[in-house]
């Protein structure tokens, strides 16, 4: 078997990106649905959407930073 090269931290970052990717998709999808159903509440939905994205994204970013540190 040939030698596998590369940093294991890269695999870790890839794994860390899966969950937040799905999560951001769910957050934005539902926010768009909310905005389409109630356009008058679009402003509130948008603010909350950015909050949700920010919280979800944090996990991927921690993975990204650990890739540098590891």
């Amino acid at each position: 078997m040939e030698e596998i090269k590369g940093a294991i931290a890269l695999v870790g970052y890839g794994l860390a990106a899966i969950g937040p990717g799905i999560g951001i998709g769910i957050v934005v999808g539902n926010a768009i649905q909310a905005m389409a159903r109630q356009p008058e509440a679009a402003g509130m939905a948008r603010t909350t959407m950015f909050l949700g994205i920010a919280f979800t994204e944090a996990l991927a970013l921690i993975g990204f930073v650990l890739f540098f540190i590891a």
Binding site: F50, L51, A54, F55, F64, V65, F68, I69
Partner: protein, 272 residues
């Protein structure tokens, strides 16, 4: 176009193409001081911090100067920005008493947006918020503010409600309490800082790698001939990312301000 490439000027083109920072610790410490005054090391980052400060002061001073009968377009834009932070973020998130926190939120917003936009400013091309010290300091100030406000508004009940939540079944209270305690006092400042930091590091890295590789391939047309055409898609992709990074810079400034407001809000009204 030369100025776009300045970010990549640290790469040694004649050798192998190595654009990664030679020492990752550069992200966490200020290195290579240009000169030192009384123990303070002046580096490129420190200069850019002062530049950002003067830009913010100048924007706010000349934008909000009194005495103009008819506000110019510039004044209206700055005023709209200040109103946005005050009305939408401070009052919209925290509530009527959010006016008190509007100056702090405005300072954070303006400083971070200017610092982020240095990333896509020609001739600078270096976001100061991609050095850990600056996001960490901002998030620690936010941490101090929301902890002090929490204790001031609610007394020791702030801590009590946090580690012994009444709305949870008794058997689970200790577990929820531990999670809440750790997430409020440890994870909040860390994620607030890391979010801004990592976004800007990632953007800076992507821009540098794409534009530098495109430029290096295209400029070595004499050595490798027609194969240098491979640099063109990289360069075009890099310019696309360049536009995307402007959006990221503004959005991250908005998000760090929004989250600071949300954290203060949870201390002002802990029930929600």
């Amino acid at each position: 176009m030369e100025s776009v490439i300045l970010a990549a000027s640290e790469c040694d083109v004649s050798q192998e193409i190595i654009c990664a920072p030679q020492d990752v610790l550069e992200l966490f410490f200020f290195k290579d001081a240009l000169f030192t005054i009384g123990g303070f090391h002046f580096t490129r980052t420190v200069f850019l911090i002062f530049l950002a400060m003067f830009i913010v002061l100048g924007l706010l001073y000349f934008g909000l100067r009194k005495g103009e009968k008819v506000p110019s377009k510039f004044s209206s834009a700055i005023e709209a920005l200040v109103t946005f932070v005050k009305e939408d973020i401070a009052i919209g998130i925290i509530g009527p008493e959010g006016v008190k926190y509007a100056p702090y939120l405005l300072a954070v917003f303006m400083f971070v947006i200017v610092g982020n936009l240095f990333e896509v400013t020609p001739l600078i091309n270096f976001p100061i918020t991609s050095r850990m010290a600056i996001p960490l300091f901002i998030s620690l100030v936010t941490w101090v503010i929301f902890v002090i406000v929490g204790f001031k508004k609610n007394g020791l009940r702030y801590l009590g409600d946090l580690i012994w939540p009444k709305s949870v079944p008794v058997a689970l209270r200790w577990l929820v309490g531990i999670i809440e305690f750790v997430s409020t006092f440890l994870l909040r400042p860390i994620t607030l800082a890391v979010r801004l930091f990592a976004n800007l590091v990632a953007g800076h890295l992507m821009l540098t790698l794409l534009l530098a590789s495109g430029w290096i391939f295209m400029s070595s047309v004499g050595d490798i001939g027609v194969r240098s055409i491979i640099g063109l898609p990289w360069f075009v992709f890099g310019l696309g990312i360049y536009v995307f990074e402007i959006v990221v810079a503004v959005l991250q400034a908005y998000i760090i301000t929004l989250l600071s407001a949300v954290y203060v809000q949870t201390s002002v009204h802990p029930e929600h």
